[in-house]
Symmetry: C2
Subunit: 143 residues, 2 copies
Amino acid sequence: MTVIFSKKCEYGLQAVLYMAAKESGCVCPSEEIARKLKIPKEFVSKILQNLTDSGIVDSKKGKSGGFMLAKDPSKIRLIDIVAAIDGLDIFNSCVLGFPSCSPDKPCPVHHNWGELRSKAYEMLASETLDKFKEKTINKIGKI
Amino acid sequence: MTVIFSKKCEYGLQAVLYMAAKESGCVCPSEEIARKLKIPKEFVSKILQNLTDSGIVDSKKGKSGGFMLAKDPSKIRLIDIVAAIDGLDIFNSCVLGFPSCSPDKPCPVHHNWGELRSKAYEMLASETLDKFKEKTINKIGKI
DNA sequence: TCAAAAACAGATTAAATTGTCTGATTAAAA
DNA sequence: TTTTAATCAGACAATTTAATCTGTTTTTGA
């Protein structure tokens, strides 16, 4: 069994959506995020540290510290998180695992798949975090 | 970095496409498949044994033995191989990893993603192996 | 000033996936 | 009949991913 994104990426996406659903600028300790999303605290903490290095998230150390988005939610796209964690190879590499699959040496499903992949990319690249606020609250309940 | 299908599944798909590109009924030893596809022999052998158990592939033991498709290529779809190896969870589980993501408790990208997923499923379920013969030969060269 | 609570760094463990090896069995061909 | 080449079964090893642990630093608030 496989999945589109790694656990790291899934948790990163969830955490960022969570932060975007709160009032802007407010600080979320990793403990709170982990508890609300029911994911391991130390793991999500690591992931958010990575996203801090990538400039998507900011952090504040010490008591009453935590993580917050580094920019306005309207400036952050889901694809930015995917790019920072899993990378964008999935949107370029062959779905059947053939090496050097390209337009002039395409695998049997190259064109069909390419189209789907573009749509997937577009979906993740066109909408920004602010668009998901309501839906996130609806999904994970009170914040 | 992630990928849609596991290595097992990728290799299984490649191997089956390879067999379908040969004259029907002809026997392919795993050594030949591994060499042509540049993938590990023992691994592809294991995978084809699995597909034998699933009834997609047949095998012949002993000298000049090997693997062959169990049915006519026009009766085998790519999704059948995926189902036998990775399973179909990927077409049902939440892309963001939220537990219990469903139409009445959807994740933020539930609907958009669901549509893409259906298209992907359909692509893998609508075309049968015989349709890929030319394209496979074109991709992996002389068979 | 001091205790508490947080990020941060890095090591370690656990689990899953990927790949290899050994030997047994089978069947064709020499 | 014997050698050879294949599947097959099961254990094993290596790698990658996921998760945990330990300790340090930082900052706030009592």
